[in-house]
Symmetry: C3
Subunit: 140 residues, 3 copies
């Protein structure tokens, strides 16, 4: 009941993964239960955020980039590039796992909620997620 999901990301930013996770729920056949998404990385995050106006997502990214800038003289962990340490900090401030109820065979997201993989590194990479699906026991 744990499925693997691999996402190719072009670089820093919010990448919508609602459809891929919804497809895993559909394939599982779970009608009522719980879907837990887990990201196997420490320089990217999971985020549930407004899926309507793209300006909200752009502002969110710009705000976090200002809060956690590259080339901060505080950083000593710089061997993996100027975007590496900010990525770890951003990941620590956001989510690595998220659990969403499944109702009537679908993720019970709110009307304006999208599920995003938030890539914090600048470069293209392959990110691995696990999707755990639990079916509620059928009442007898």
């Amino acid at each position: 009941m744990t499925r693997h999901l691999t996402i190719q990301v072009p670089g820093q930013g919010l990448h919508l993964i609602t459809a891929q996770v919804a497809e895993a729920v559909h394939q599982s056949g779970v009608q009522e239960g719980l879907c837990t998404v887990f990201l196997q990385h420490t320089s990217a995050s999971l985020l549930i955020q407004e899926n309507a106006d793209p300006s909200a997502r752009r502002d969110l990214e710009r705000w976090l980039n200002r809060l956690v800038p590259e080339r901060d003289p505080l950083y000593t962990h710089t061997a993996e590039g100027p975007d590496d340490m900010p990525s770890h900090i951003k990941a620590a401030l956001t989510a690595t796992s998220l659990s969403i109820p499944v109702v009537d065979g679908a993720l019970a997201l709110g009307r304006w909620q999208g599920l995003y993989l938030w890539e914090h590194r600048r470069y293209p990479s392959e990110r691995h997620l696990l999707i755990h699906l639990l079916a509620d026991p059928t009442p007898e």
Copy 2:
């Protein structure tokens, strides 16, 4: 095993919802298991925080309001009011889902932990939460 909970909030602030979630656990009859609370919004959060001294909660709110102020010139997403973009940022920095073990028929919160709905918008609204309850299988 997923219950809906609607909370009327008067505006920005931490609203204690421990009792409502505890009541859902009680009504479910689950004795040992897991309770997952999920918030269907992107401008409010779930928070487990000190439930004793109100000054801790006030400082927390004031601190976050200072970190993420209204009318920051960075924001371009301003059509829904000056409190909207800060609300999305605050929600991204805090939790949308929380999972709490159920032990002996009750939420296994620590002695000082309260469960809060953290409203980030200024105005009264109705917020929707889902409470998923899982009962551990009975040993045979």
Copy 3:
């Protein structure tokens, strides 16, 4: 299926608890399922972060200490010491519960992921965690 884990922490910092949680998974006998870790405190956090280079963890701590310093004149909740209010704020910005799939009898952490108890108070203390283990139903 909920186990108690007590961790003695010497003071502020990231304390690796992967081995203790992995041992609880092993003892449970769960082969496929979900492991939820819940921290019963409001001045410490759970964190999944890079377990390779210690400089990344040090920078993370120094960065958060700079963002949320002690003796900020904003704080009114000061009766429990200068490290108390910053601890609550840091806890609010990070995780109190984390859910990790169990695959082939082991926590399905990514290659570079370690699980940490992030203590925010300065002094030695005893911290209590709950580990909930769910075994997926066996296919018939």
